[in-house]
Each structure stands twice: as C-alpha cells, then as structure tokens.
C-alpha cells in the first residue's frame, strides 16, 4: 500500500481517470452534435431519433445510420476496453489484447472462407460465422496450451501463433481471391451502415458478460498474481483462467462479429486507464471500459468529420489507432514504468532441452545446407516437377539464387533482432516490427506507389530506407525521455504498427489494383531481389553481426530487471540504446530486402530455445540459423506450391513455421 501511494505521489502527470473520460466524451459529443446539426435542424432531432419519417432522407440517416453508429462505438469501445483488462490481467502482460489470442484473426478467416464457399451471407448468419471462427481459434489456443497448465507464456505463444497463422492464411486468400478485398472493409471494423439489430445483439451479449464478471471478480483478482501465490490462495488456476478467458473471448468475439476488427482500443484503453490512475482491478475494469467507449466514440467522430470533408469512407477500426495512438504516445513517457512481465515467470512456452548447444547448432546447419540445395535444384516448369542438373542450375540460379540468399539473410537478421529485443525487454511478445522501422519502411514504399507509380528498384529501396530512418529517429527521440524503457518502446511500437495496419486496410479496401502488388511486398516477398541486393544484405548483415558478441553481457543482465542491472553497474540507457540500434539496423536491412515480416523475428528466438540452452550467444546463433532455414524453405515452397502463382515468402514462413510450432506446442507434455 505504502509503495503504491509513493508511486502515486511521484507521478509527473497529475490526472484522474474521470478527467480523461470526460474530456474525450466532451470532445466527441461536441463533434456528434456538429455532425447531426449539419444533417437536420434541432427541432426535428427528437422525431428523427424515435419516429423517423420514412420519406425524409435526413431523418432516416439520423435514425438508421448516425444513432446506431454512435451506440455501437460506445458499446464496442467499452467491451474492448473491458476485454483488454481481462486479457492483460490473466496473461499478465501489458501488450495482451483481444487479438493476442487469435480471436479477431480467427473470426476474420472464418468470414473469408464463408465468402468463398457461401456467398451472399448476411446479417445474423454472418455474425454467427464470425463468432464460430473466434471461438474455434480460441479453442485451438486453449488446446495447445492445455498441457502447460494454461500458463500465461504458453497461452500468449499459442495465441500469437494461431493469430499469425490465421492472418497469413487470410492474406494468402486475399491475394488469390479478388472478391475478398471488399471484406477488408469489415476486417478493419466499419461502424457505419449498421442498424439497430447490431446494437441490440452487442448490448445484450456485453451485459451478460458483465454480470458474469461481477460474479467472478475474486478469482479474476487472484489471477494477476504469480502462479504460486494464486494457487496458495486456493485457486484452481487452470479452471479459473479458462473461465475468465472464455468470458473475455465471448466479449471480443461479440464485438468482432458485429462491427469487425477494431484494433488499439483493447490495448490502449486499459493503458490509458492505468496511466490516469486506475489502480485496483475494479477501477481498471470500470475506467478502461469507460475510456474505451469514449475513445472509440471520439475516434469515430473525428473520422466522420474527415470522411465528410474528403468524400471517402475510412473504416473506424483503422482509425482507432490513428486518433487514439497519439494520445497514448503523448502520455506514455509521462508515466512511471508499469509492472513488467518476467520472461521466466510466466511458465514455460516451449520446453527447453538441455542438449549440448553445439550439437543443436550443427543439426540446424545441416538442415540449412539441405534446404539450400533443394531450393536451387528442385522446381516446377511448364512440364511439371523437375530436378535440374548442374548446367541447368547455373542458368536458373539467376532466378532462384538471389531470392534464396536474400530470404536466408533477412531471416537470420530478423531472428537476431527478435532475440535481442526479447532479451532487452524481457517480453516474449517483442518482435522486430515494434521498433517502428518496418512500419516506416512500408509507409515510405506506399507513399511512393501512390505518388509516383512507375519507379525502379533503387528508388523503392531509397523510399523504404528513408521511411525506416525517419521512423527510427522519431521512435528514439520519443523514447529518450524515459531512458528507452522497454515497455514504453514496445507499446509505442505496437501503437505505430496498429496505426499502420489501419492505413494498409484502407488502401487495400480501395480496390486499387496497384495495392495488391503492395500487399505482396508487405507480406515479405523476395520476388524482385537480384544479386546486388542479396549480396549487399549479406555483407552488411555480416558486419553488423560483429557488434552482437560485444553486447552479450548486457544481454544476460538486462532481462533480470532494472534493479539488478543497475546494481551490477550496467549503464541502463546507453546499453538499451546500443542494443536497440543494432536490432534496428538488422530489421531495417532485412525490411529493405524482403519487406516487413513479423513471424521469423517473433518465433525464431522461441524455437531456438528448444534447440539450445538459453545463454545469449548460442541462442542468438541458433535463432539466426533457424531464421535463415525457415525463410529458405518458405521461399522455395512459395515458388512451387501454387505454381505459376508465387506466394510471398513471409506468408509461407508463417504458415510453415506456424504449423511446426503448433505441433511442438501440442505434442510435448510438461
């Protein structure tokens, strides 16, 4: 208690949760009134809301579009805020949110499949499909982490894998099925054009969950403790976790099935509530729900004003991060560090074998050599499958060599960057794209595609390099104030990435054919890589790798926590900056060559742990080889599986690696 008060007293940003909620609500209400007043004179408001005249378009608009949209914004925002707190409490990770356990990705994938097989699906049956997908994804996640006692780390890993897997599958479908592009509108959460039916469904489902949550408030409170603490207080961890998670999943699935995927609120609202001073679980639930509701209302109103001015229709889900993100980024450096997850404390993800590290690494190298040979010599042509002889291989190596080398180099670099970041932050969910580097690079390329369509490869590299540098510069400038505190860098990066995903969704939904080419690049394509790119990536990567062994002491100490690190004489800010810079350079180079891809950077470090001991250097080496191996295989599979169509290597890496990891997770008992 004393400690908590001390924390409160030292906060440099005096704020109460209700200030924030009131400010947001006030701004949103003002904009709503402004919008409605443009549509309809105030005298008719009452009639329009309750008994609209069927012939009056403005009244119909207010009754069937504006009002349901407002109610849905409030309901969805509140539900997501609530669900976010529960996920963060149960998984004990400030980065957890509804998407972490694959709920939204599962719903999205189910809808895509339904659109292919059952076209013309509408209203409630569409909702049912989305709900089914969400629940199925959740069931798989629970099944995969069941044997590990549903420990937070196992749940997070399983959730991330299932989520990425569903996401990659969906992107692959969109690449090949042009009709699914319309679905990206839903996939980025559109609140407009809904009717009262959606409001009724969402309201009743949320109310049910809130009642159940009230009943379960005691176990929920205990789940925030370490496992041992919670068990000693007489809690059946596994059962409690499953029930509470199921509630949160139902809540987020209700939102997803009604209005689509809305990112950021689930992670941003709980964070804002916390920063504004909500401490106990009850306070956090209440204020996170209220802040979530008003935040989404506010974001949606901003969007309507912009839509009206520009005559476009931007999905709300995409905009939540765009308008909410800056608020979070502004407040984050002004608060004290929050409780941080401990890498080892969350239970086991993949079991570690205490194999001799050298043997594990040798096995991996052998696999890599095999993969390289297959990738160069085995392929498909007009006449079907063929092994190429030496001479043929020489001719074909112009096409097959550079993508393979680039894929290997990028895979290795991202895996190392991911390992560095996971060690630096002590968070198993950290992956290279949270540095903002890939986001910046991708934005640079998008801007280029939109502004000057006919460009060559060098210009593209220049644009993405410029974008990456600017983004990194901004992130570092922003993180300087907090001494590059890991949690803040992570949350800031995640917010950026979510805002970017929003922009991407809007562009994809536009149906502009150029965007499909862009989607391929964004999914990690080695398509355009030729020898100069591939070789320079290897060269720069090799030079950068020299900087890693120098940092190995820091890499061992930093995950142990700030206090210990400081007492061992580690300069916190400068060591963090050094690691961040190296990781960013790796990520930047990899992104320039093959585009932003997240799977390898996120998962290769975890896979490396199952091959080697978890000392920094062996783990880094194993991660690098694993990253290269996954990408070489993915590059080859992407080339031949759907011949003549080519799948982006990044997508295939997620599908292949995801399958492998799911088997690993499910198979080995504790």
């Amino acid at each position: 208690m004393l400690d908590r008060q001390a924390v409160n007293g030292r906060r440099s940003f005096p704020m109460r949760p209700h200030y924030l909620a009131l400010v947001l609500a006030g701004a949103a209400a003002f904009m709503t009134l402004w919008i409605v007043q443009h549509l309809l004179p105030p005298a008719q408001w009452w009639q329009a809301v309750f008994h609209p005249a069927r012939q009056d378009l403005a009244q119909i608009d207010v009754h069937f579009a504006v009002m349901p949209r407002l109610c849905l914004a409030l309901l969805a925002g509140g539900a997501l805020g609530l669900a976010g707190v529960i996920f963060q409490q149960v998984l004990r990770n400030p980065m957890a949110e509804p998407a972490t356990l694959g709920v939204s990705a599962g719903a999205y994938l189910a809808l895509s499949l339904a659109a292919i097989w059952l076209p013309g699906l509408s209203g409630s049956s569409r909702q049912a499909v989305a709900l089914l997908g969400a629940v199925a994804a959740m069931a798989i996640v629970l099944g995969l982490s069941w044997r590990k006692g549903l420990s937070p780390l196992a749940l997070i890993l399983a959730g991330l894998i299932v989520g990425l897997y569903c996401g990659a599958f969906n992107t692959a479908l969109i690449l090949f099925q042009d009709k699914l592009r319309t679905l990206t509108l839903w996939g980025s959460g559109s609140l407009d054009g809904q009717d009262w039916l959606g409001v009724r469904d969402l309201a009743s489902q949320s109310a049910l969950v809130v009642v159940l949550l009230f009943v379960l408030r005691r176990p929920l409170n205990l789940l925030g403790l370490e496992d041992a603490g919670a068990s000693s207080l007489g809690l059946s961890l596994q059962r409690a976790r499953m029930i509470v998670l199921a509630l949160a999943v139902i809540l987020s699935a209700a939102v997803v099935s009604t209005v689509g995927v809305i990112s950021f609120i689930g992670i941003g609202a709980p964070m804002l509530a916390r920063m504004a001073g909500a401490r106990t679980l009850g306070q956090r639930l209440l204020w996170s729900a209220l802040i979530g509701a008003t935040l989404l209302w506010f974001a949606d109103d901003c969007l309507q004003v912009i839509d009206g001015a520009l005559h476009v229709s931007i999905p709300t889900g995409a905009a939540a991060a765009l308008f909410g993100g800056p608020i979070l980024l502004f407040l984050l450096p002004r608060m004290r560090q929050m409780s941080r997850p401990v890498l080892s404390g969350g239970g086991r993800g993949f079991d570690r074998r205490t194999r001799a590290p050298l043997r594990g690494i040798l096995v991996l190298v052998a696999c890599l050599v095999g993969a390289v040979l297959v990738s160069l010599a085995f392929g498909k042509g007009i006449s079907g499958w063929q092994w190429s002889g030496w001479r043929q291989m020489q001719a074909l190596s112009f096409w097959r060599g550079p993508p393979m080398v680039a894929a290997a180099a990028a895979g290795a670099m991202l895996a190392v960057a991911g390992s560095l970041l996971q060690r630096l932050t002590g968070n198993p969910m950290a992956s290279p794209e949270v540095l903002g580097v890939s986001t910046g690079a991708a934005l640079g390329v998008i801007a280029l595609v939109l502004i000057a369509p006919g460009f060559g490869r060098p210009v593209q590299i220049l644009a993405s390099g410029g974008g990456a540098t600017v983004a990194l510069g901004l992130m570092l400038l922003w993180g300087r104030r907090s001494g590059f505190a890991p949690d803040q860098m992570l949350l800031g990066g995640v917010t950026l990435a979510m805002a970017f995903t929003g922009i991407l969704a809007v562009l994809l939904a536009s149906g502009d054919p150029r965007m499909i080419g862009l989607l391929a690049w964004i999914s990690g394509s080695t398509y355009l890589v030729r020898w100069p790119d591939a070789l320079s990536a290897c060269l720069i990567g090799g030079v950068l790798a020299l900087a890693v062994p120098v940092q190995r002491r820091w890499l061992e100490i930093l995950p142990l926590g700030d206090g210990l690190a400081r007492s061992l004489g580690t300069p916190l800010a400068s060591s963090r900056l050094a690691i961040l810079l190296v990781a960013s350079c790796f990520t930047g180079i990899a992104t320039l060559v093959v585009g932003p891809l997240s799977f390898v950077g996120l998962m290769a470090p975890h896979m490396a742990r199952s091959f080697c001991q978890s000392r920094p250097l062996p783990q880094l080496v194993a991660s690098a080889i694993l990253g290269a191996l996954i990408m070489v295989l993915a590059n080859w599979a992407g080339r031949v599986l759907l011949f003549p169509n080519q799948m982006p290597a990044g997508l295939v890496a997620t599908l292949l690696g995801g399958t492998y990891l799911m088997i690993q997770l499910a198979r080995r008992p504790r």
Binding site: R54, Q55, L57, I60, D61, F64, A65, A115, G120, S122, F176, D178, K179, T182, L183, L185, W186, S190, D192, G193, Q194, D195, D307, H311, V312, S313, I314, G379, G381, I382, R391, Q392, Q394, A395, L396, F398, W399, P453, G454, F455, G456, R457, Q460, V506, A509, S510, G511, P513, R514, I516, G517, A520, S525, Y527, L528, R530, F643, P644, N645, Q646
Partner: protein, 306 residues
C-alpha cells in the same frame, strides 16, 4: 548486352532460337515503334496487364502468356481469352522462370511493373504501355496507346479498324438514347451494402459518358477509396448504374432490406440499373463494352416505364 550473355548460358537446346530472339530483342528494345516493326514483327507476346491483353486480343493477336487468366475472365469478359494462353501467375508478380521458359519475343507491361523491368528484360524484350494515366483522360490515352501498340505489332490497320469500330459502337449507343430523359447517372460498384466505389472524373466511364452525352451525377474526381452510400443523395433525381464487380458482397434482396438504401430517392423511384462487369482500366475494348451495356440498360428501363 548483358541480357544476351545470360541467354547464351541457357539450356543447350534453346541456344540458337534464343540468339535469334536476342537480335529481335535489341531491335524492339531500342525502338518498339514504327521503324523496327517491319523488320521483325513479334508474335510470341507476353502481356502482363489485363487492359493491354484485351487490347491485343481486339487487334487480332493472341498472346502466349497473360497473368491471372481467371481474373481476366471474371472482370473483362469481352474479348474472350482463347484457350491455350499460359497463365503466368499473379498480376504484379509474374513468374520469371516460366516466362524465361516461354521465351516471348515481346513483353508488354504497365507502368506498375517497371520495378521488375530489368529482371523481365532477361526473359525477352520489354515495352511499357500506359492505358490509365493519372488525372488524364483514359479513353484518349488508351486510343493513343492502342495505335502505338499496333505499330509495335505491325498491325496499324487493325488499330484503325478497332478505333473506328469503337467510335461507331459509342455513337450507336448515343443515338439509341435520343429519347432519354437526360437524367444524370451515378456509375458505381457496390461493395458491401454500406459502401460503394463511385466513378467520376478521370475514369474511362466518365470519358464514355461524355461521348454519349450523359451527365455524370458525381462531379468530383474519383478515388479508388470506398464511399458511404449517403454520397448518392447529393443528386436526388439521378439514376444509379451498378456495374457488376467481383467485390460485390451483396444480393439485390439484401439491398432491398436495407432501410437507408430503400430510402434513397432514386431507389424509391426504381431508377436503379445493373449492368455486367466492365473493367475500369480495360482500355478501348472496355469503353465500347461500357457504352453498349449502359445504353441497353438505360433504354430497357425507358421502354419499361413508357
């Protein structure tokens, strides 16, 4: 010259043919147009854009390779892609190895593929054609590019015929509308019942509407971005022409059940017309197709109302 060197290292059986092609390559790359055309008329064409593919077919040439043919069939419909054309993969990632094996003697690409130009040049000579200028007049541009393209293929007379024929079709469409009530039209793609894509200035549709003397109700430049259906309220007495598109997730019954859609003045008065798929970036053949389909749709309703 690097391209030729690379080819000589190719498979033994194809060396001689490839060498001949390489000579043609130098010719066509150095100047696709008039002067070289008579000397070596390319006839193994890889066409890496659907609008260009439709144009080439309309000129009476069958390409050997086109990307994502299933997409072409769904979206462009007319002219029909003959069987036997090789599918070379997705639009913006054509399969290099397959193209290399096919050894086309001319590869036609849109500006969007320029970033892959140097790699493509290794599989055959490359020429860039742009049917869809940004902020320009697509129909005028498509006509100019069709003439340039026909020159490169040694088919100048086919181009003259195609353009004349298209003009006749548009004129016929215009003439058939002489009794039309002059209401402006919205030309849209339906997306999901709440969102539409709406076509305005600087689109192929706009150019054809202008030629047919039909006013576009949407006077703004069109973006590819989706727009809410409330945009259709701005000109209440307009007609709504829904161009079929594969992205349409709705059925007419679903639309009819939507309160907002049903409340639109044009919808209440039954002024909604559906026409088949026309590719908005499909060049001259798509312009003719649009004119014919549009006039038929407007005319049918006119007689039905009369």
């Amino acid at each position: 010259m690097r391209a030729i060197g690379g080819r000589q290292r190719g498979r033994a059986g194809q060396v001689t043919r490839r060498d001949c092609l390489a000579v043609a390559a130098v010719w066509t790359v150095s100047g696709v147009c008039a002067s070289a055309a008579q000397a070596a008329v390319p006839h193994r064409l890889a066409v890496l854009d659907w609008g260009l593919a439709a144009t080439v077919l309309s000129l009476g040439v069958t390409p050997i390779a086109v990307p994502a043919i299933a997409f072409y069939d769904r979206n462009l419909v007319d002219p029909v892609m003959p069987p036997g054309v090789v599918d070379v993969g997705l639009l913006f990632t054509p399969n290099f190895e397959l193209l290399f094996e096919l050894a086309p003697d001319l590869i036609l690409i849109p500006p969007g593929l320029v970033s892959a130009r140097s790699a493509l040049a290794r599989t055959g000579p490359v020429a860039v054609f742009n049917l869809n200028p940004f902020g320009g007049e697509p129909y005028t541009q498509a006509r100019a590019e069709t003439i340039r393209l026909a020159g490169a293929l040694g088919r100048a007379s086919s181009a003259t015929a195609l353009l004349a024929q298209t003009e006749v079709r548009i004129d016929q469409a215009k003439a058939s509308l002489h009794g039309y009530d002059r209401r402006p039209v919205y030309v849209i793609n339906m997306l999901d019942g709440q969102h539409i894509r709406i076509f305005g200035k600087h689109t192929l549709y706009q150019d054809v509407l202008d030629l047919m003397g039909v006013r576009n109700a949407w006077s703004r430049p069109s973006t590819f971005l989706p727009v809410g259906i409330e945009a259709l309220t701005e000109v209440p007495d307009a007609r709504i022409v829904i161009v079929a598109s594969v992205g349409d997730m709705t059925t007419p019954a679903q639309l009819a059940a939507s309160p907002f859609w049903s409340a639109l003045p044009s919808v209440r008065a039954g002024r909604v017309h559906r026409i088949g798929s026309v590719f908005p970036m499909g060049g001259v053949p798509s312009a003719a197709r649009f004119a014919t389909l549009l006039s038929a749709a407007l005319l049918q309703r006119e007689t039905a109302h009369a």
